[in-house]
């Protein structure tokens, strides 16, 4: 490796998205000074916190080479169960949080178990569970929101720790550092990535593939549950529609962050900057009062653009590998 340090830095998955984030912040704040007011930063960071947890929930599954369509509907189900337990059953808030997280883990494990034991594609299994979770959600709520969100939860979702840093950043940091540690240091993280990279090789080298898939989906469910409850805190209401719009952005951020959708290669830091880019663009459209539906067009184009970049990098790495050999 005789490359210059700067070039090495640029080869990181997160370097490109980080540069783009920085450039976007500079351009937008130059055009619209209100972009960097403390209040706006607080709003931006709250959105980033929730969307990062959502994206990480998809990232784990992308790592193992699968996809989780049910992420959003599980998040929504946990969101309404959380508020419902407090409002209707009178469960104390900490216990309700614990209950919500357990629902997420159990539902994720169920997904993982069925996928791993039957060998049916994760796409079809999570499409079925998407519908099941959504149906249960609507069956419980009759499509009406729960309003009994306790004050402490509302405050958690809408106040700052210091300056413009919202409390919601705390669960995001725990989730991001936890996953980073998991992929870097823990055996299960290595198993997930090696399975995503080459399932047969992983199986032959004695990795418990069934257990690994169940673990990955359990973590994904846990993160979906956390994100669902974070959104309840932010919206101050148990909306049954929570999670309906997670599908696109949950894939967009990891892909922008350089994750290979075939599995085996993920970047927590890259995903973070993917989330930041999406949040900045969404905010900018609001600030410049552009039709909010343009967000959909931008998100779709970002995915295509990122897929193109990732393909180009793969091609370049492959060329470098052959040149080196």
């Amino acid at each position: 490796m005789d490359k210059r340090f700067g070039m090495q830095l640029l080869d990181n998955d997160w370097a490109g998205p980080a540069l783009i984030s920085l450039a976007a912040i500079l351009v937008i704040s130059a055009l619209q000074p209100s972009f960097l007011t403390p209040f706006n930063i607080l709003v931006l960071l709250s959105a980033i916190a929730v969307n990062m947890v959502i994206a990480l929930g998809q990232l784990v599954i992308v790592g193992v080479g699968q996809m989780n369509l049910a992420l959003g509907s599980l998040g929504g189900l946990v969101g309404v169960c959380f508020v419902g337990a407090i409002e209707v059953l009178g469960v104390p808030t900490p216990l309700a949080v614990l209950m919500g997280l357990s629902i997420g883990v159990l539902a994720g494990m169920a997904n993982g178990y069925v996928i791993a034991r039957t060998g049916i594609s994760a796409f079809i299994i999570t499409l079925a569970s998407l519908q099941i979770f959504k149906g249960i959600n609507l069956g419980i709520t009759k499509a009406q929101p729960f309003y009994g969100v306790p004050d402490v939860v509302k405050q958690f979702g809408n106040t700052a720790v210091i300056g413009p840093i919202p409390w919601l950043i705390a669960p995001m940091l725990i989730a991001a550092l936890g996953l980073w540690y998991l992929f870097r240091r823990l055996r299960i993280g290595r198993y997930i990535l090696s399975m995503g990279g080459n399932r047969q090789a992983a199986e032959l080298s004695g990795i418990d593939t069934v257990g690994t898939v169940i673990w990955a989906h359990a973590i994904s469910g846990l993160l979906a549950a956390a994100a669902g409850m974070m959104l309840v805190a932010r919206l101050q209401i148990g909306q049954p529609t929570i999670g309906d719009d997670w599908l696109i952005s949950s894939f967009a951020a990891p892909v922008i962050g350089g994750a290979a959708l075939s599995g085996g290669h993920v970047s927590v830091a890259g995903t973070f900057f993917g989330v930041v880019i999406i949040a900045i663009i969404t905010q900018a459209l609001v600030l410049f009062s552009i039709d909010p539906f343009v967000v959909q067009i931008v998100l779709g184009s970002l995915i295509l653009w990122a897929v193109g970049i990732n393909r180009f990098r793969e091609w370049r790495f492959a060329k470098m590998a052959t040149a080196g050999a």
């Binding site: 791993a116 079925a128 959504k134 696109i248 959909q296 998100l299 779709g300 393909r311």
Partner: protein
Amino acid sequence: MSSVVTEPLTENTGTGEQERLPVLLRLLLSNEFGLLALIVVAAAIFATALPGFTSPFSLFTLSRQIGIDTMIGLAMMAVIVSGGLDLSVGAIGASSAMAFGYFAERLGLPLAAAIPFTLALGALLGGINGAVVVRSGVHSFIITLASMSIFFGVMIYLTKAQAFNGLPADVTAFGRMKVLGSVSALLVVTLAVCGGLTVLYRLTRLGREILAAGANPRAAELSGVPVGRTVIICHMLTGALAALAGLMLTARTGAAVPSMAGHLGQDWLLPAFLAPVLGGTLLTGGRVSVIGTLLGATFVTVITSGLLLMRVSEFWVQAFLGFMLLAAVLIDRARHTILKARGMV
């Protein structure tokens, strides 16, 4: 991605791999026969238990729903056969239907021009999907995830999320039209398309190339099938059929509504996969069953309307449909295992 069994199971691949099984046994073991039996049993139970089930109005709405759901299922089936999928069917369907509203209401085009234009737009959007998939080599899941967001976003941006309510009277009239007593004319359209697709897959060279390319792209390429072109054609067919499904929904509602397929068209995903999967279309490609898709959609519609007539909340029916998809793939899996263990495949 985990693998699904790739062996073609019954006669529909047209490769004649099942010749050693007696015809009757093959028929009895087929997905289609199982579905038909289930439909008959379910319909018989509902008809005796629920007096309203066989009323002319109920039969009309039933046949209308079967027509639309089958068309959505066929749209997805047309691309599943290539081994890919299309998350953007709902977005294409809604976008095309809105374009139809624009053609027929705003521009005042006659239906004879507006309908072909609409179908062509659907095929074009599908063709874009297919071309990007083939050129980039990226799986259609991620490409169509992006395009569903783009198509839907552009449609909402252009229409300002406003419905077209002043469509020509013929459109609404067709949605209400009955043939042979109380059968919806929409189902007739669907049956005609089923016939056309059966001819395509069984009798034409293109159909055989599609099946071959879906079953084993490398082998097909080596034997001279232009696989890339075939994949693009599959996506175009999906787009055109999705546009047709959007038109049929428009005829039923009497208006072109941007939210007809839900946010980003996501509401079509379950019916789109449920009907073909129930009908025995393999998700890995290479095998289709047009009749199976029709029967799959029929079964789902019969069960759904029966449950709704029993006053089960429509929300719980949604959860039930999810369980049904799960059951369908698990049963299919078990059937493969049993047939394999007996050396029948």
